[in-house]
Subunit: 300 residues, 2 copies
């Protein structure tokens, strides 16, 4: 299972029962919470996300609509008796804010909260099966995007053909990595004769808040699903630019140039009640676009 | 109009679509927001409270379920273009928290936010028509209750009897204050012959979070409506005491001993889904008790 569940798809001012930004990425048994606007803990309950499975929280930047719900979530986890470690990846100053809010409440968290300040682009978390990368987006204050990427999966031994060759099983790991095999007689057994490709490694990129920035294409190149903000429709390109946000057309252009498989758009301005035009405008540029709708899980 | 609208009636962990503490007191054209738990700005929209009419916010204490929604409300007011002054009455450290959160967002508020740190019991705001008082409650960290009190209303001239006496109209203001009138001949015209009492001055007391504390009876003596927390049912008196909270029986006892007209109870623990027992237990001690239900306005 690799998917993203939308908990908040609105920009700063909550409206029309749309909430400020928050998403949960599920990757097998791992839940990653990306951004945590006000009310995220209520949305987590509403959509029955298992909060005890959230061990990693990523915060893109310190505008309130992306983190004002964090302290409430952290303290509720404490009241609910959490003991397991929680990792928080965020701009450095968030640590001061949390510390101050706990201090005035004369409260300590009963679980270890490990703070990882975001400092430079690159891999911020790595396991044998996946890695998480962060990258700069272009916003009014320092802002980070994230890619959650499965690692390239090894090829699989072709059980139907492997018996036709005399290859020692100790060499199988190398076959899975794509190597050919050379027999004692110097004969080359081509890798593709005895292995088959595994499912491709999937990846999810979250572009947080950003103005149109073509450098994002390189950073999100070829991902399976790209989330890109679309605060405005394309007629408000100047406003989007002035406020360091993007339009439908701009988000879809990034998706097209980055060669992604699928585009999710969100962070809709509170000025829009109906969202149909967002979908339609983006699809004119990039057909495989969907609106990020709260409560819906999109497969990666 | 004098009433209180409940926006959040739950204790710390939101549950069963109940929200952390927030209330709006309407007194004629004034709206007072008392406490501001996470999600208050959404509740304000949901129940169509006119946020532009909120000029005074009172925060009882710095446990998160009473203020985590404040920064979101303040910044949304900014985004909505508020210009008019906003008065905030709260424990002093809240100023540091707000300042830090604005600083990291590189944001300034476009309206004057006047911070009034709560320091000692007494009147914290006064107009010709009403006053607001604060008082200590007994909680794990410093915590304040509030009384919003109409001023004693002057008596009214009795139009049916006033014509029977020769009293100069310049003396009417004194009549309204309750004075008798002495004619040139030394005859006393008793005040009650020529005036009638006005409606009694009403008052609303908010006891925030508190353990059972009989000193609250004196502070809320005779108010029209008393809000008192009831985190637990009476079988959990020990737990209530240990956590500096109150039970149904304790809240109703305070109401009874304070001689109030009506009791509102709230701040229900998330362990309770159904609230009937709260109402029933409190009414055994104090009949005029109602549950504080979200979205409902209770007349003062």
């Amino acid at each position: 299972m690799f998917g993203v569940t939308i908990l908040g798809n609105n920009s700063a001012i909550p409206a029309y029962d749309r909430h400020p930004t928050a998403q949960v990425v599920t990757l097998n048994d791992q839940l990653f919470l990306i951004d945590c606007g006000e009310g995220t803990q209520m949305q987590i309950s509403r959509y029955r996300i298992r909060r005890s499975k959230i061990n990693h929280i990523l915060i893109s930047h310190l505008h309130g609509d992306h983190y004002f719900g964090l302290i409430g979530l952290l303290t509720s986890m404490a009241l609910l008796g959490r003991e397991q470690e929680l990792h928080l990846y965020a701009p450095a100053r968030l640590k001061d804010i949390i510390a101050l809010q706990l201090e005035v409440a004369v409260t300590t968290l009963p679980y270890p909260l490990t703070f990882h300040p975001l400092a430079e682009e690159g891999v911020i978390m790595e396991t044998p099966k996946f890695q998480v990368e962060c990258f700069h987006t272009r916003h009014r204050i320092p802002c980070w995007g994230f890619v959650i990427r499965e690692k390239r999966k090894p090829r699989r031994i072709n059980k139907e053909t492997i018996g036709q060759y005399e290859i020692p099983s100790t060499y199988f790991e190398k076959l899975k990595e794509g190597d050919d095999y050379e027999t004692k007689d110097g004969e080359i057994i081509k890798n593709e004769w005895v292995t088959i490709p595994n499912k491709p490694a999937r990846s999810y990129a979250y572009c947080a808040d950003t103005k149109f920035d073509e450098s994002l294409c390189e950073k999100t190149k070829g991902v399976t699903v790209l989330y890109h903000e679309t605060t405005y429709l394309k007629d408000l390109t100047e406003r989007a630019d002035a406020r360091f946000h993007s339009t439908t057309e701009q988000a879809a252009t990034i998706a097209l140039k980055a060669g992604v498989q699928r585009l999710l758009i969100g962070h809709f301005s509170s000025k829009y009640d109906n969202l149909d035009a967002f979908r339609d405008e983006a699809r004119e540029v990039f057909a495989d676009t969907d609106l990020a709708i709260e409560g819906v899980t999109y497969k990666v």
